[in-house]
């Protein structure tokens, strides 16, 4: 795997930098990716959603309400932290962390659920539904539902319900109904299928909050827009704190919402390299991974065209990652497009590498990161020593690791 700065094209102008970036097109395509590959039964709710989203994202009243909530309820802006000790230890580029782990509910997910829940209320919907893998998006959805007094149902694969007990309990405390999905592989993709089925059936009063930049148009664009607050803040903070833009922005990629949120405001900055880090699980060559951009092929799933993990007959494959939040066989269509155009690079790190980075950051900086985030940290730790000390890498610290205590302890043979 290429880890040298040269191989990633650092410092070289990317192909698309000269043109203004205006994706998606009117029907939700990012080049050949994205779109609306859905049954006719979903076309009307998606159209209704697209119209509301277009209307309110240009509405000063709505934006004021959103900004106030992000400030007073979520705790934004989140800081950018210069991890000096970790940087020194690695002996190369300076590492900066965008602290999304300090948000209310402990991850970037709430930026999006606040936005969509406010939209749901404006649309007069009284019930929200969500899918969740690790439970972070489910918790963030249940949280905003509690606050706005909306009914909330969260679909979660039976396998994930069993391995994320603490988050299931949190959601129930918050008043949400958690439905264990027993179909298919009983993980995140099946939870998404089930949520779509609920939406089709209950569309009159129900708003479906998708947790990532996947799904049919307008979800990939809408979730990106809500998450872009990460990159907008970080761009200004980097200039303020280091006097310049970072050389690299980096984030883990499952569906890809924290990565797009960080990347999007930097797309026009040709000198900033963007690197997404997927989950290589047991290793890309073992087939037991969750890295569609690194090892998959383009196809159609969950309403959009994107890179997928699929078999020779076009059936979607089971994925594997130590981190439930990256355990998804597809990826947001905008990442597929950024990969093909060369504007962003995508790499993958294994479970073991992520776990090592989890411990590394915890011990050197006193910050316990989520296992998802640890994938980005692991790649940063490989890349930084190949760069100069006056260069910098900005990593999205997308979530905190409290939820992963059981998993990590279990992997080390401990029972909490």
């Amino acid at each position: 795997m290429a880890t040298r700065a040269d191989d990633l094209g650092l410092g070289k102008p990317p192909m698309m930098a000269a043109e203004p970036y205006q994706w998606p097109d009117a029907r939700g395509h990012f080049g050949p990716y994205g779109g609306m590959f859905v049954p006719e039964t979903l076309m009307h709710p998606l159209t209704e959603l697209r119209q509301a989203y277009e209307r309110y994202l240009g509405d000063p009243d709505f934006l004021r309400e959103l900004d106030a909530d992000l400030r007073d309820y979520v705790g934004r802006p989140s800081p950018v932290y210069h991890a000096e000790r970790w940087s020194r230890e690695l002996g190369g580029a300076q590492l900066f962390l965008k602290r999304e782990d300090l948000n209310h509910t402990g991850a970037h997910k709430v930026n999006n659920t606040i936005g969509q829940a406010l939209l749901a209320r404006r649309m007069g919907k009284t019930r929200i539904i969500a899918e969740t893998g690790a439970g972070q998006h489910g918790v963030a959805s249940a949280t905003v539902a509690a606050r706005l007094g909306l009914e909330c149902v969260v679909y979660m694969g039976e396998v994930d319900v069993a391995r994320q007990e603490a988050n299931v309990y949190r959601m129930r405390l918050l008043g949400a109904e958690v439905v264990a999905v027993k179909s298919g592989t009983r993980t995140l993709k099946d939870a998404l299928n089930e949520a779509m089925r609920d939406w089709v059936t209950n569309v009159d009063n129900t708003f479906y909050i998708i947790g990532t930049v996947a799904g049919p148009h307008p979800y990939p664009a809408m979730v990106r827009d809500f998450q872009s607050v990460i990159g907008r803040e970080a761009r200004g903070q980097m200039i303020e704190q280091s006097g310049r833009l970072p050389d690299v922005v980096m984030a883990c990629v499952g569906g890809g919402s924290n990565a797009i949120g960080l990347f999007h405001p930097f797309i026009g900055d040709a000198e900033v390299a963007m690197i997404g880090v997927e989950a290589a699980g047991d290793g890309l060559d073992t087939g037991r991974h969750a890295a569609p951009l690194c090892a998959g092929t383009p196809g159609v799933l969950h309403g959009n065209r994107t890179y997928l993990m699929e078999d020779a007959n076009g059936q979607i494959q089971e994925t594997h990652s130590v981190s439930a939040g990256l355990d998804y066989p597809g990826v947001g269509p905008e990442h597929a497009w950024l990969k093909d155009t060369g504007r962003a690079s995508y790499v993958a790190v294994t479970d073991d590498e992520a776990l090592a980075a989890f411990h590394g950051l915890t011990r050197t900086e006193g910050i316990i990161p989520a296992l998802e985030t640890s994938h980005a940290l692991a790649y940063a730790a490989k890349l930084a020593p190949t760069m100069r000390k006056d260069q910098s890498i900005l990593i999205n610290l997308s979530g905190r690791g409290d939820k992963d205590m059981q998993t990590v302890a279990r992997m080390e043979g401990l029972q909490l």
Binding site: P39, E40, M43, H44, V300
Partner: protein, 277 residues
């Protein structure tokens, strides 16, 4: 003229409503699927919808999802489904067969390769659930180039503009989803269906089949009053599942045959009552 058009022309001249059963190919086994297809025709099926198993069937309810899982557990692929159609055609060159499935397995085979293989196997049309008229023009062109019909869904929420967009690309017949929801869901309201069919017929000349929510002879008869075709899926697949689970898979063709005969009688009685509009 396509087999589908021939069928509906004949039924229209006879004042009769088509009976269209849906089964998932390979559920519970590919061998039984073939036998079942012939048995359904003998029991009065006019056209067969054959589901291609896909790992992530977002438009389907739990009954058809489980059928899909049973078929996938045996490794039934799109090529296998076309193989079943080819064998069906060895002894039946009259009954139209429409493949119902999702886009990804087709794209993996290749749009043109799929359309050619489907035509060669003797398939008559395709309903690709997750391809609205706005997407996948290459596939649409490839299917049409083989003279196959492309069937589209219409929903209670489809407005005039969408009905017109679908009228542009659809052929053979259109499939009206009578309830909001997934396959096997809800209870249908015949008056509501009728008023929606009027709106559809004002914009589409093709025959209109009605499905989702037809579970027995009584609902089939009600729908036959207003539709050109009655489409029954989950009620059949649910019976297949029950027999397979009881270890009585060999009884499936006979039981489903009897069920379809009941529906046929109910539909024909409705048609003979002169209520078909």
């Amino acid at each position: 003229m396509s087999r589908i058009q021939t069928l509906f022309d004949r039924l229209r001249s006879e004042g009769r409503t088509a009976l269209i059963p849906f089964i998932t190919a390979g559920d519970p086994t590919p061998e039984l699927t073939l036998e079942l297809m012939h048995r359904m025709v003998a029991a009065g099926a006019d056209l067969i919808e054959l589901g291609v198993p896909f790992s992530d069937p977002i438009a389907d309810g739990p009954v058809i999802q489980r059928a899909t899982e049973r078929a996938l557990a045996q490794g039934v692929s799109l090529r296998d489904v076309l193989g079943i159609v080819r064998r069906f055609r060895e002894t039946d060159d009259q009954t139209p067969v429409v493949l119902m499935g999702y886009l990804n397995p087709i794209e993996v085979m290749g749009n043109v390769a799929f359309a050619e293989a489907a035509s060669e196997a003797g398939m008559d049309g395709a309903l690709i659930v997750d391809v609205p008229p706005e997407e996948s023009h290459e596939l649409v062109d490839a299917i049409k180039a083989q003279g196959l019909d492309l069937v589209y869904l219409l929903a209670p929420t489809s407005d005039a503009a969408r009905i017109e967009a679908i009228a542009e690309v659809a052929s053979g017949f259109v499939y009206y989803v009578s309830v909001k929801g997934v396959t096997g869901a809800g209870h249908l309201d015949v008056d509501e269906v009728k008023s929606k069919l009027d709106a559809i017929r004002a914009r589409i000349e093709l025959p209109v089949g009605v499905g989702f929510g037809i579970r027995d002879a009584a609902t089939a008869a009600q729908v036959a009053q207003v539709a050109d075709a009655v489409i029954v899926g989950s009620a059949i697949v649910g019976r297949i599942e029950a027999l397979a689970q009881e270890g009585q898979a060999e009884r499936i063709p006979a039981v489903i045959g009897d069920f379809l005969s009941e529906l046929r009688v109910a539909i024909d009685q409705t048609n003979d009552g002169g209520q078909h509009g």
